[in-house]
Assembly symmetry: C2
Homo-oligomer: 146 residues x 2
DNA sequence: CCTTGAAGCTATAGTTGCTAGAGACATTAG
DNA sequence: CTAATGTCTCTAGCAACTATAGCTTCAAGG
């Protein structure tokens, strides 16, 4: 039996995250020790590894919830799981396209700044006026990072 | 003079988002009409377009705040703006690499679904066991999004 | 001129996927 | 036995918005 700390270490998931997953129902309520500490077995470790892995691949917790409920009924056809994965793939492809355009734009911006004054600096200019952009990166999806 | 709705339409930003930007100090407080409605001029439109554009390019609001403060004092050297752009470029390149790996992984998963049972489903199987992966996509950065 | 409906206002709370902190109890190494 | 670490619950916070409620203001049609 694993304490929550060992479980987290084995699965590569932080302790508060595990408690969070339990709270939102992604993990079942764990059994407790005499002193009220959570104890986990191999099944919990596998489930958590599944979640961790799917998160690594960019699946949302909602999608993971669906995938888990599918894998809990293994006699059904797997079309649904396939659809979820395909949707994820499409999303990844959209992001790739957008990031590729963005990369080109940033490279252009960086190249053109040669240490002059802001007044001559295209970084600001490019961002202020879309017509100076080489690519069209106008899309409403959120893409913000760290 | 533009009302907030027109401004939003012109800049491609939703109305509540504009009010949010004002609230966090990214946009200055707008002047008001007799009936207490916000009114905007061309300067505000440009500034908002700048923000929208930078968001599209993946800049965080913090980075945008810096860029705006730079462009508000155009006599400074543009080294700082260049540094911001370079940092963004590095970040974008990291994300691109990661997404490319994810895409390969997801394609592999998706290709092999032939309408069988969940029990044999490649998607679930791959998610449950990282050793079935061809690439190492284990990185802690958050990359998810709706 | 008056009404109606869209657009605006404020303020608050919700979203996603965690992360951080406080203060108390449990377990374990020396 | 004590000290250090681990775990407990609970609450609040992060980015960057989005949505709701309940109001006021504005523009256009009849």
């Amino acid at each position: 039996m694993l304490t929550i700390g060992k479980l987290g270490a084995q699965a590569g998931v932080k302790v508060p995250t595990i408690r969070y997953y339990e709270q939102i129902g992604l993990l079942p309520e764990a059994g407790r020790s005499a002193g009220n500490q959570r104890l986990y077995g191999r099944k919990a470790l596998e489930r958590l590894a599944f979640i961790r892995h799917a998160r690594d691949l960019g699946f949302t917790l909602e999608a993971i919830r669906d995938l888990l409920s599918l894998s809990d009924n293994p006699e059904q056809p797997c079309v649904a799981a396939d659809a979820i994965a395909r949707a994820q793939l499409a999303e990844v492809e959209r992001r790739l396209a957008r990031l590729t355009a963005l990369k080109a734009e940033l490279e252009r911006m960086v190249v053109q700044c040669a240490g002059g004054k802001i007044a001559d600096c295209r970084v600001i200019e490019v961002l202020g006026d879309h017509s100076l952009c080489s690519t069209d990166h106008r899309h409403p999806e959120s893409e913000a990072g760290p």
